[in-house]
């Protein structure tokens, strides 16, 4: 037996409260190098909040996140973590994120969108950043759109640029939050294909998606989130075809028209 891949990212007892609402109620998660984890769950179950806690875009109310075995922040002595802004900036250079709404920078050309962080955050030279950006744009099939403005692209193309932008930082983990949910149906395929291509290079990924067919073939592990907790997790064959939990089964049944 081969030894398991190292743990890249882990979450321990993550809770998140907004005002008086407990959105995450203790989530434990271990992500090993090369894993592709699909996170499922109905709307409002806390999927986005979980992803946003993993890259500290949202500070967890309780619990800890560790990247490469190093716990982020330090205990404040009252059971919570204190975070240093500079440390969080560094963490976020290692954990990429793709948003449902793309969030491209509209005042920058496509290639400038992709070059911005390698150049400004990683301190790459202009030539290096340009080479990286050209490579990543080619990887998502948009080399010829380098000098276009985001507003000139279709939603599918914009999302592929957003993927290229995240990958230009060469993150250890890539988080994708419903990357195809705001796309017209005919544009979903091209974005899923770009994401699928990343698995060939062994990229570690967590994706929140409602595309169960895609999740089935793409993910190495599926996680079903319900009411701020991980209700069920396992290989896609098990969770999607033979769910243990009644709620998971009912959730999947709502998508029965989709074959996988």
């Amino acid at each position: 037996m081969t030894s398991p891949e190292p743990v890249v990212l882990s979450a321990t007892a993550i809770t998140k409260r907004f005002g008086t609402v407990d959105v995450l109620k203790g989530v434990d998660l271990t992500v090993r190098k090369g894993e592709r984890i699909a996170i499922l769950g109905s709307s409002g179950s806390g999927k986005s909040t979980l992803l946003r806690c993993l890259n500290l875009l949202e500070r967890p109310t309780g619990g800890t996140i560790a990247l490469d075995g190093r716990t982020i922040g330090r205990p404040d002595g009252k059971g919570c973590q204190r975070y240093d802004e500079r440390e969080l900036d560094r963490v976020r250079t290692r954990v990429g994120m793709v948003f449902q709404q793309f969030n491209l920078f509209p005042h920058m050309r496509v290639i400038e969108n992709v070059m911005e962080a390698p150049r400004g955050v990683l301190g790459k030279s202009k030539a290096e950043a340009q080479a990286i950006a050209e490579r990543q744009l080619a990887a998502v099939g948009l080399a010829e759109k380098a000098t276009a403005w985001p507003a000139q692209l279709s939603g599918g193309q914009q999302q592929r640029v957003a993927i290229a932008r995240a990958l230009a930082m060469d993150p250890e983990v890539l988080l994708l939050d419903e990357p195809t949910s705001s796309l017209d149906p005919e544009l979903v395929g091209e974005v899923l294909a770009a994401i699928r291509a990343l698995s060939d290079e062994g990229r570690t990924m967590l994706i929140v998606t409602h595309e169960l067919g895609f999740a089935f073939h793409f993910a190495t592990r599926v996680l079903f989130l319900h009411d701020g907790k991980v209700l069920e997790e396992g290989p896609p064959e098990q969770v999607l075809k033979a769910p243990r939990e009644e709620r998971t089964r009912r959730f999947i049944e709502r998508f029965t028209e989709r074959r996988f």
Binding site: G96, M97, N103, F105, P106, V121, Q152, R165
Partner: protein, 223 residues
């Protein structure tokens, strides 16, 4: 008897009016500069997470937005010497009044532009590990600036017209120059018509330039 227009009062006093126009332009530009500087500071204070900064900025903005500008002119010209023994020239008092009053309006223009940039832009930048300062400079400000342009230009035009209040301090700008000419020639209709036309010409030209700049900005983003 119908009124007989006679513009010789204007043509004979051209130089007086032109130097008045010069005074108006200098006062306007200086007022805009002061307004931008203080306004940017106020906007930063209002956007800060600290209540001790937000509160005084809000109070300042509300005070100067909701009190008549002529009162500010008198206050700086006549009030300061009495209250604090600080005597300002008519230019100094007018500049202080214009700059401080417009800072309240500029602050709201700047703040409005910045908060209008979608949250997703901040999140995208932060998710790439950008520091707040860099994110603000590279991502937020350029987008905010574009949205501020139209209201900013409008505030500048208001300020230019407000400079005429400096005539009440006998400061030599266009309106005061016109009053002097009128006193000598008793041709108020012609003189003030020309004053209006001069303002119209200057501001119309400025608005054409700013529209052209805005159109160019839009074209540069492919929309």
């Amino acid at each position: 008897m119908p009124y007989v227009w006679d513009f010789s009062a204007v043509t004979r006093n051209w130089t007086v009016l032109l130097s008045g126009l010069g005074g108006t332009i200098v006062l306007s530009l200086a007022g805009i500069a002061v307004g931008i500087l203080i306004g940017a500071g106020l906007a930063a204070m209002r956007l800060s997470g600290l209540r001790v900064l937000r509160w005084p900025a809000t109070a300042w903005i509300e005070f100067f937005r909701n009190t008549p500008p002529l009162v500010h002119f008198f206050w700086f010209f006549y009030g300061l010497p009495m209250a604090f023994g600080i005597t300002l020239s008519s230019f100094g008092a007018a500049l202080a009044a214009l700059g401080i009053q417009s800072s309240a309006f500029f602050a709201e223009v700047f703040r409005g532009g910045i908060v209008s940039v979608e949250r997703g832009q901040w999140e995208a930048g932060r998710a790439l590990g950008m520091s707040r300062a860099r994110l603000f400079r590279r991502i937020i400000l350029p987008q905010a600036a574009r949205r501020m342009a139209a209201p900013f230009v409008e505030r500048c035009f208001e300020l230019v017209k407000t400079t005429t209040l400096a005539a009440a301090l006998a400061h030599h700008e266009l309106l005061y120059a016109a009053m002097v000419v009128v006193t000598e020639t008793y041709r108020p209709l012609e003189v003030y018509t020309v004053v209006a036309l001069l303002f119209l010409t200057v501001l119309f030209a400025a608005s054409q330039v700013s529209e052209w700049l805005e159109a160019r900005g839009r074209a540069m983003q492919g929309r």
